[in-house]
């Protein structure tokens, strides 16, 4: 049991109370009561002083808190919101520590950025670039991405740390984000053209899913919360191999999103140190979105056929597709005949 706190004055009060209870003759207790009053007055004075000192310190603390609040708000702009939250809530240590996690990693880069913008004044260029990065950042946050860094016009983000919704949801979130970013570019292009951009920006995006090392890297004085590993390199290579305005993804990402997002198989790529080819897929769109568009698509259990009509203006292309389809039809017919 916690011992009761008894001050000197309280002790005296108890003593006086006890004396008064057995003796009603106040004259005999005068000295004691006078002492009690003196102590009581002193106590009040001390209380006053403690309050004064405490108020003074509180005021100083408030000023310091406001200063720190302002500083941390400024600092937060230099960090991904998830990293900022996990550090400031105490969930994340600021030490050189790392761990292995399954992540979906995204890279994007603007095609021929330097050539596209060489006619622009630096002020306009930085306005357009900041506007582009801000728009992309807002979309990334909407999908819960951890924005790792901006490198000029390139963006690197990942899903799965510090928070993960599960590897499938993380991959789906990442590809959905990429689709929305690509779509947003279409609406931003006319605005930038009005500001002096000669031709619209085209973006290349690459996505890979797999284990990576995530944590603080650097020195104890200056560190970055980032990711390293083979999958990071793969995502970067996928990005550089993607066609303009295309999203190129790895096989593992494809496996996690293929139920909801239509992708086309593309040529495999080769990575330094990996002796076999790595399959790649280009993201078309969500299945339900494709069905609404003026496109030929047949997505059923045994067949996936997608033809973008916009790309068929050229008669040769049409002929080529008809020729290919005829070959498929003949092969199917032959299979059917064989069965009979």
């Amino acid at each position: 049991m916690e011992e009761k706190r008894v001050s000197r004055e309280e002790k005296l009060i108890i003593e006086v109370e006890q004396s008064l209870a057995v003796d009603t003759n106040l004259n005999d207790k005068r000295q004691m009561i006078e002492k009690l009053l003196r102590e009581y007055k002193k106590n009040l004075k001390q209380l006053d002083k403690i309050i004064k000192m405490s108020d003074k310190q509180q005021k100083k603390l408030n000023i310091k808190n406001k200063l720190l609040e302002g500083l941390s708000t400024k600092l937060s702009c230099y960090l991904s919101p998830q990293i900022y939250d996990s550090i400031f809530s105490g969930r994340q240590d600021v030490t050189l520590k790392s761990s292995r996690k399954k992540l979906t990693i995204f890279f994007s880069d603007l095609v021929n950025f330097t050539q596209t913008t060489e006619n622009l004044e630096p002020e306009i260029l930085s306005d357009i670039l900041n506007n582009y990065l801000d728009e992309m950042f807002t979309i990334a946050l909407k999908y819960g991405a951890t924005v790792d860094k901006f490198i000029g016009d390139a963006i690197m983000v990942f899903f799965g740390d510090p928070e993960s919704k599960g590897e499938k949801e993380d991959a789906l979130g990442c590809v959905s984000m990429a689709i929305e970013m690509r779509k947003r570019m279409e609406t931003l292009a006319p605005i930038w053209m009005d500001n002096g951009l000669r031709q619209p920006f085209k973006v290349r995006m690459g996505i890979a899913t797999g284990y990576a090392t995530v944590g603080n890297f650097g020195s104890t004085h200056r560190m970055d919360y980032t990711i390293i590993g083979g999958q990071v390199n793969l995502a970067n290579r996928l990005e550089s191999n993607a066609n303009p305005n295309n999203i190129l993804i790895s096989h593992e990402t494809y496996s996690l999103v293929k139920d909801k997002i239509f992708c086309e198989k593309k040529d495999p790529i080769f990575l330094k140190g990996i002796p076999y080819p790595i399959p790649t897929y280009t993201v078309i769109n969500f299945f339900d979105k494709i069905k609404q568009r003026d496109e030929i698509n047949l997505i059923e259990e045994n067949i996936t056929l997608y033809i973008d009509k916009d790309n068929l203006k050229d008669n040769d292309k049409k002929e080529d597709i008809i020729h290919k389809l005829n070959i498929v039809i003949d092969e199917l017919k032959a299979l059917n005949e064989n069965k009979k």
Binding site: E2, S7, K42, Q46, K49, I50, K60
Partner: protein, 127 residues
């Protein structure tokens, strides 16, 4: 009467009262679970000690890094005793030591000093 030595803990300061030199010190942090229980024997020692004093120079060095509100009440009580004793002619000095950059501790010292007209109360910064 004997010297009084209490080892410091996480929440209580080191008490080192030395009768041979009359140089006494309280150093560390003070936020005991029960302030009055912790300081009661210290007050008893001080009251008995002051009874024995004549004209010798006595120094109490207080070097607290942190103390809570109930400890500041205890400190004021202690300084009142020293002030009363000084009024009666005893030669007591309190050295209030604070870190050079700790303005708050310096201000606490100044606040305490305000109400001690008889006691020699010196505020010193530790370099």
């Amino acid at each position: 009467m004997e010297n009084l030595y209490i080892m410091k803990t996480k929440s209580t300061p080191e008490i080192n009262f030395d009768l041979s030199t009359h140089n006494h010190s309280i150093r560390g942090e003070s936020y005991p679970e029960n302030t009055f229980t912790f300081y009661d024997p210290i007050f008893q020692w001080i009251e008995n000690y002051i009874e024995t004093l004549e004209q010798q120079e006595v120094i109490f060095t207080i070097e607290l890094i942190y103390f809570n509100s109930s400890s500041s009440k205890v400190l004021m009580d202690m300084f009142d005793i020293f002030d009363e004793a000084s009024k009666e002619g005893k030669n007591i000095t309190v050295n209030w030591i604070h870190d050079e950059e700790d303005e708050a501790l310096q201000e606490y010292g100044e606040e305490f000093k305000e109400d001690l007209p008889h006691l020699t109360f010196i505020i010193k910064s530790k370099v």
